[in-house]
């Protein structure tokens, strides 16, 4: 046990400052090196390993979690193409770890805003899905808000208030509906976005 913990710490250190060749645990080193070779950010893998070490998780679990992070980052990078930032990829990876969030949802958010970082909209998508909103609806709402030029602060406030309402016992859809009513008047009208309009969002459909 101790050997693996030390190895994990070494892997963390190696990823930050030296090559992975000196890493004691070959599996973790391999995961990190493979991610680096694919041009993926390694920080999320390192963070997961560090979290596992701090939380005294079993070594096999840490390795599995690190492998899962690497796999999801690759999916996230592809879904958020063509030019995702490291934060975008990290947010996408986090999102794909949530049950129900799909690469199609990430691609829809990217399509709504192809030029700007999307880490915050992806984060709000995750907040809504984790609160109980169905992924297609959460995706449609977030892409609509992005298209209507909602600021990061507005998006985060929406996600936080819905999370808070649900924690107080509210129905998630009712909370989202009510909070949207309060937010929408302050946004640009439909169609004002230069990317897409509410009627042409990917995946939008009549209820």
């Amino acid at each position: 046990m101790m050997r693996v913990v030390v190895a994990a710490c070494c892997a963390v250190f190696a990823a930050q400052s030296a090559s992975a060749q000196d890493v004691a645990d070959p599996q973790l080193a391999q995961v990190i090196e493979a991610a680096r070779a694919k041009g993926l950010p390694t920080d999320p893998i390192v963070a997961k390993v560090r979290q596992g070490v701090i939380m005294h998780a079993a070594p096999a679990r840490i390795v599995a979690a690190a492998q899962a992070v690497a796999a999801r980052m690759e999916q996230a990078r592809d879904a958020l193409a063509p030019h995702p930032t490291a934060s975008d990829i990290a947010a996408g990876e986090d999102a794909l770890a949530i049950k129900g969030v799909t690469t199609d949802a990430l691609a829809a958010i990217r399509a709504a805003n192809p030029r700007e970082p999307v880490a915050v909209p992806v984060g709000v998508l995750v907040q809504l899905v984790a609160s109980g909103i169905a992924t297609p609806k959460a995706t449609q709402i977030v892409t609509a808000l992005v298209s209507r030029k909602a600021t990061n602060a507005q998006l985060v406030a929406l996600g936080n208030t819905v999370n808070g309402d649900v924690a107080r016992g509210s129905n998630a859809e009712a909370s989202l509906d009510f909070r949207l009513r309060m937010l929408m008047p302050s946004l640009a009208p439909p169609g004002a976005g230069n990317i897409t309009t509410l009627q042409t969002l990917p995946g939008s459909k009549k209820p």
Binding site: A97, V124, L180
Partner: protein, 329 residues
């Protein structure tokens, strides 16, 4: 009960859609008490329903109401309303409306009506006022009498957490008789996402075409709707709550709802190292450069177990524990 119900539907603008065209349906089952002119007061059981289509620039509503009075009188009415709505400009919306309706009562022949009107709405999706007016005709099919009328009215709408409130007041001018005032107030407390308790009071104008004086009523009903609502009965949010703030380019997190001597935070942006927060009045604060986006966090109060802040959605951390999902602007 007939006219205020009709007029409110006619004058109040349909709630604009939020993100896409949508349908919704509402049903009410309740009891009313009516006072009409010199007639004895009566009670009535009422059942009503509406179906709405809310689009970008158009709305359609089909409504029906039936009642059975304590004197065994049965009434029924329906109303179809079609509206064209302009885009909102600085909280202003214009709407043109056309309505067709019919009213029938046991031991009497039906009356029909047709109205056209226009309304100006000022407000947003949770609170608004509107001014409107319209002209129309109603016909009594027993004596073929036809009367024209002109309505002018003011309405108010406010939706707040768990409550839907509306009120309207106006006047109806009719051929050959003095103007008749009407008003109504309607409040619904949502006790469940799809169920509310509705109370309404109102006064109808004189119904000249049927020769019936104005009526006052009070109604209590259960309201059911397909559109979910935030409910009035929600528990307070107790326990630690966290929020991320970005101000003047600097980010920080604040934890509230904690009575403790020490609060620690562990997150991906602390490299999963426990970091003590600084007390700042009623909140605990950590100023740190945090990238915008989704982050995973956990809190520890006075050296206890690591917990997920109450206001955050929870996620499995794949390591046997749970973390909170915090989005940083």
């Amino acid at each position: 009960m007939r006219r205020p119900w009709h007029i409110l539907l006619f004058l109040c603008l349909a709630t604009p859609r939020i993100t896409r065209a949508q349908w919704q349906a509402t049903a009410n089952a309740g009891a009313s008490r009516l006072k009409q002119g010199f007639f004895p007061e009566t009670n009535a059981a009422t059942l009503s329903g509406t179906t709405d289509y809310l689009g970008d620039y158009a709305a359609f509503r089909l409504a029906a109401l039936g009642s059975r009075a304590s004197d065994d009188r049965l009434t029924g009415q329906w109303l179809a309303i079609a509206s064209a709505v302009t885009p909102t400009w600085r909280l202003l919306t214009l709407q043109a409306t056309a309505a067709l309706g019919a009213f029938a009562q046991s031991h009497d022949v039906p009356t029909t009506s047709a109205d056209v009107g226009a309304q100006l709405r000022i407000g947003d999706l949770t609170r608004a006022v509107s001014l409107g007016g319209g002209i129309g005709q109603s016909a009594h099919h027993g004596d073929y009498a036809v009367h024209s009328f002109f309505d002018a009215g003011f309405s108010w709408y406010h939706e707040r957490e768990g409550l839907s409130l509306s009120a309207a007041i106006g006047s109806r001018a009719q051929e050959g008789v003095r103007a008749s005032e009407w008003y109504l107030a309607d409040a619904t407390a949502w006790v469940a996402p799809h169920t509310g308790i509705n109370l309404a009071i109102g006064r109808s104008p004189d119904d000249v075409v049927r020769g019936v004086p104005s009526a006052r009523y009070i109604t209590a009903a259960l309201r059911f709707t397909t559109a979910p609502h935030v409910t009035v009965f929600r528990g307070p949010l107790t326990g630690p709550r966290i929020v991320a703030i970005r101000s003047n380019g600097e980010s920080r997190v604040e934890v509230a709802g904690v009575t403790a001597a020490r609060v620690e935070l562990m997150a991906d942006f602390t490299e999963w190292q426990p970091v003590s927060l600084d007390r700042a009045g009623d909140v605990w604060r950590l100023a740190r450069a945090i990238s915008p986006g989704l982050h995973r966090v956990a809190l520890r109060i006075d050296g206890g177990e690591w917990v997920v802040p109450k206001n955050l959605a929870k996620s499995d951390d794949e390591l046997g524990g749970a973390v909170g999902l915090l989005t940083v602007p």
